[in-house]
């Protein structure tokens, strides 16, 4: 067993990657789902083990085939990647556990094995990004996860997903290409692809123009993939028209992984090595973060489709994460990293609840959901609980990261007060858009009262789906009260990023 434990970093990728082609062969109904879910849960267990190992002391390193870098491929799991691995595998597992009935309804039986295989590939790709210590491997895994998620988004019955995914594909490819150009330039100047080596060598050539160009390409490319405002335009439609289960998975983690790469590259390779990069980074990203919070929330105020509303809320939430990061202080970075975790919990639970709603309602416009709470009280209660987390009401996980964010902002002096005002304004808008859902579900009466035929059966979502939704919703409260583990991971991640050690 100890033998196996040393291989955990690579197993994190290998398990879903190898399971994917096997799943394609599993034709009997339900078997593909079972295999994919088992693989995802196994990945979650591996992630938990890795997190325990990281919490216990040092980062976990792994050399593929025993070849030491720079010749071989190195994998490395530190506090930051361990936390993100928990988010990714957790979101995937929760979505798969809950989603069987939803996917049955959305995708024909004979195409399901392919769908689940793509899912596992996306999972493998995201996990691969997180364990890689090598800029080029990150690109490879990024492409794997992106291509797989294009398939996932387009896999549903909604034809509107096709133009959405085309936009996603084009913008995602531009982002990845920008990243590749940047990595290529850095490789040209330093002769290495290993992030740790890059950090050591880059300051010799730090004043060279190709490095500065590389920094620009990498930052913008990854910001595109992370849907940083104003590069977010691919996100709302992709989330809205994707199958509900896919939305749960991607909304909880996809953009966060891109942000992870952005932060790792910028803080470990560029920060402290490029003169003035710190100030540039903050001056470039902080206004975007502020705009993301304000514009994203404002659009969500007027959005009428539940999934689009939540998607725009995601744009705003990415702004919160980025706001913390752009302060370039330990407190700010901790807040940002912590918000990744807490937002994944809240959004995951919200989209799970949406999935539950979608099993009984044909449309997800707010006016179509009138009276939903009477038909599905448990689903709507979970949705409200998660909504409170999204707002950041004390007692939920969302509050913890907002608290960190505000405290970090207050350290910034006069500018801090403005940032606090932005966070407060964003939270207030969150109150309003969450409240619109509540009001529609609880207090509105259906416009077409009991029309024949289109009246959905007055019953709750399938039990398993509901149980998973509630588990994640309650996790919002649990992690709002018991905060030790994720705080330690986030603070250590922030310390490592600013300390420069990989």
């Amino acid at each position: 067993m100890t033998d196996l434990a040393t291989h955990l970093p690579v197993l994190q990728v290998v398990v879903p990657l190898l399971l994917a082609p096997l799943v394609v062969l599993l034709r009997p109904r339900g078997l593909a789902w079972a295999a994919a879910t088992a693989g995802s849960v196994m990945a979650l267990l591996i992630a938990v083990n890795l997190a325990v190992a990281v919490l216990g002391g040092t980062d976990v390193r792994y050399e593929l085939g025993g070849w030491s870098p720079p010749y071989g491929i190195a994998l490395r799991v530190d506090a930051f990647s361990a936390l993100l691995l928990l988010i990714v595998t957790g979101a995937s597992s929760a979505a798969l556990l809950a989603a069987r009935r939803s996917i049955d309804a959305a995708i024909e039986t004979d195409r399901q094995p392919l769908f689940y295989a793509s899912w596992l590939l996306a999972l493998a790709g995201l996990a691969g990004i997180l364990v890689s210590a090598d800029a080029f491997n990150i690109f490879v895994f990024m492409e794997i996860s992106s291509l797989a998620s294009y398939i996932l988004v387009a896999g549903g019955p909604d034809r509107r997903a096709l133009p959405a995914v085309f936009k996603y594909l084009i913008m995602g490819t531009i982002g990845a290409t920008f990243y590749l150009i940047g990595v290529g330039l850095v490789y040209m100047m330093t002769g290495t692809l290993n992030l740790a080596d890059m950090e050591l060598r880059i300051h010799e050539v730090a004043d060279q123009r190709p490095i500065l160009v590389a920094a620009g390409f990498i930052t913008v490319g990854l910001a595109l993939k992370a849907a940083v405002f104003p590069l977010h335009v691919w996100l709302p439609n992709a989330y809205t028209y994707a199958p509900h289960a896919v939305t749960v998975f991607l909304a909880a983690c996809a953009t966060k992984v891109s942000l992870y790469v952005l932060m790792r590259f910028d803080f470990i390779v560029f920060q402290q090595n490029l003169a003035g990069h710190e100030a540039q980074f903050a001056a470039f990203l902080m206004p975007l973060a502020v705009l993301a919070i304000l514009v994203g929330s404002a659009v969500a105020l007027f959005e009428n489709n539940l999934k689009r509303l939540l998607a725009y809320s995601s744009v705003a939430q990415i702004g919160y994460i980025l706001l913390g990061v752009s302060m370039v202080t330990v407190a700010g970075l901790s807040a940002g990293v912590l918000h990744m975790f807490n937002h994944a919990l809240a959004k995951g639970a919200l989209f799970l609840a949406v999935m539950c709603l979608a099993t009984r309602f044909s449309g997800l416009d707010l006016n179509q959901l009138a009276g939903a709470a009477r038909r599905m009280p448990w689903t709507m209660a979970a949705l409200v609980l998660a909504g409170l987390g999204l707002i950041g009401v004390p007692g939920t996980a969302g509050f913890i990261s907002k608290w960190y964010l505000v405290t970090a902002a207050l350290n910034e002096g006069p500018l801090g007060f403005f940032l606090v005002a932005v966070v407060v304004a964003g939270s207030l808008m969150a109150v309003v858009y969450v409240w619109r859902i509540v009001e529609a579900a609880w207090f509105a009466t259906p416009a077409t009262a009991d029309g024949p035929g289109d009246e959905p059966a007055p019953r709750e979502a399938p039990v398993v789906m509901l149980l998973v939704t509630w588990a994640v919703a309650l996790a919002n409260v649990f992690f709002g009260l018991v905060t030790g583990t994720q705080r330690e991971l986030a603070e250590r991640a922030a310390g490592a990023l600013l300390g420069g050690a990989p």
Binding site: W403, E439, L481
Partner: protein, 489 residues
């Protein structure tokens, strides 16, 4: 039970009661009402058995969970919170008796939801009363807002929902937008948010920032309805009358002025605030609210709206008394919370009884109603006299202490404000009393009516008796609140 367990029981009993009420409501209305009364009796037992210890100087405390280092959910009983909890739990029983009469008399829908949310609101009020720090207080403050929303929007028609949205919108946006930043600022500056006798902010905040922070606290606590965050109170008048009583007397507005008083006494410290000129504006804001709200009340034609504006003025009495920043005035603030609660709950009970018996809501319809509903209008008269501050009613006692505090501070503007508002109170309450007793009855014969259902009348007799009793028997309350300023740990 040990005092620590009693604290948790005071929180747990209403929540367990809510469950019980919800389950029993499926079977029988009588069973459900029995559960409500039983729960409120159990709560009274829990809360009131804490009293002797507090008199003796004990301050039982218990911690539930530590959320972040230095930020925890913890409870600690001190005189002010003890008084609020004792008041809320006691009036809940009276209010429950009244609710039974009112809700049945008006054949309201969704009665089970009503009683369940009422119990949840009481649990939130207990949490506010016993909170040991700002974080815990905020948690339960928000819970109270959310739990009262279904009560305010009880009727469920579009106009009601619109008003209830104003209620929720103002309370939530003020608390998240102003109160929460103030709390975070406090934790950030002082490193703690624990309620500590003498305050925690001295030496950590200075100059104009003190006035700004105080402003965030006062306007963030919109439940205290200091102008201009008072609009939710008239809007909430769409609620059934027992809910109005809950809002105005039992829990909600009391939670607001309680929070402000507690913040002034235990977070800022009255000596620190008194020495800081930038905090002076609060007194003027409160004085302005008293006069302005009284003038607005003068022009109201709807009985419940008039009472709402009267509440806004009376709440600012408490805030103004607290803002005088002298020991006697702080005691006066605490006493006025009690006195106003007794008087105002009587007035609302009477207004609701009138509505139940006759569907009358406007002042012009009340001519001669004293002869049809003598018990109700006698109680109304007592409540009105208490609002004006005429002996032998509760209002006289608390005004006495506030005035004494104003003398202690040589604050003659406070004297003038109180005198002016007393005149205004008399000007809008006495005509109602006069019309009810001495004008000829104009009710058409086919709409003849007598008193409201027995349970409602019983409740308003009890609350009127309390209003009178407090005049002669306020010493225990004074003794309790005197500990507040004697700086006992």
């Amino acid at each position: 039970m040990s005092p620590e367990q009693l604290i948790l029981a005071a929180l747990g009993v209403p929540l367990a009661g809510a469950l019980l009420i919800g389950v029993s409501g499926r079977f029988s209305a009588n069973l459900r009402e029995a559960a409500t009364l039983l729960t409120s009796l159990a709560l009274i037992a829990c809360v009131w058995s804490l009293l002797p210890g507090i008199y003796a100087g004990d301050r039982p405390a218990t911690q539930l969970v530590e959320v972040l280092p230095g930020i925890d959910i913890a409870f600690r009983v001190e005189p002010l919170g003890m008084m609020f909890a004792a008041l809320a739990s006691g009036l809940w029983l009276v209010n429950s008796i009244y609710s039974i009469g009112y809700m049945r008399g008006n054949r309201e829908k969704n009665q089970t939801r009503f009683y369940v949310m009422f119990a949840v609101s009481l649990a939130a009020a207990m949490g506010i009363a016993f909170a040991a720090n700002l974080f815990t207080l905020f948690l339960f403050y928000e819970m109270l807002t959310l739990a009262t929303y279904p009560l305010v929007s009880h009727k469920g028609d579009p106009a009601t929902v619109r008003s209830a949205r104003v209620y929720l919108g103002i309370l939530i946006s003020a608390s998240l937008g102003l109160l929460l930043p103030a709390i975070i600022w406090t934790y950030y500056a002082a490193g703690t948010g624990d309620f500590t006798p003498g305050g925690i902010l001295e030496g950590h905040v200075a100059g104009p920032a003190v006035g700004l922070l105080l402003g965030l606290f006062v306007f963030g606590t919109a439940k205290a309805a200091v102008m201009p965050v008072h609009r939710w109170l008239p809007a909430a008048m769409v609620a059934p009358t027992p809910v109005s009583a809950l809002l105005h007397a039992v829990a909600v507005v009391k939670a607001g002025v309680f929070t402000i008083t507690k913040v002034i006494v235990y977070i800022f410290g009255i000596d620190f605030l008194f020495s800081e000129p930038s905090s002076g504006w609060l007194f003027y804001a409160a004085a302005f609210t008293i006069i302005a709200a009284s003038v607005v009340a003068l022009r109201q034609q709807n009985l419940k709206r008039l009472l709402a504006y009267s509440t806004i003025a009376q709440l600012s009495y408490v805030v103004m008394a607290a803002a005088i920043l002298k020991p006697l005035a702080e005691v006066g603030a605490a006493m006025h919370m009690l006195a106003h609660a007794f008087g105002k709950i009587t007035l609302f009970f009477a207004a609701g009884a009138i509505y139940t018996a006759s569907k009358k809501t406007e002042l012009g319809q009340l001519n001669g109603i004293g002869r049809r509903m003598p018990v109700t209008m006698a109680a109304f008269t007592i409540g009105a006299l208490s609002m004006i501050g005429v002996p032998p009613t509760a209002g006289f006692i608390s005004k006495w202490y506030i005035l004494a505090g104003a003398f202690q501070a040589d604050n003659y503007l406070a004297l003038a404000t109180i005198i002016a508002s007393t005149a205004l109170n008399a000007a809008y309450f006495l005509p109602i009393v006069y019309a009810a007793w001495f004008r000829p009855d104009t009710t058409p014969a086919d709409r003849a009516h007598g008193e409201a259902p027995f349970a409602a009348v019983l409740a308003l007799v009890i609350s009127a008796a309390l209003t009178l009793a407090f005049f002669g028997y306020s010493a225990p309350a004074y003794e309790l609140e005197a500990q507040l300023v004697r700086g006992q740990p």
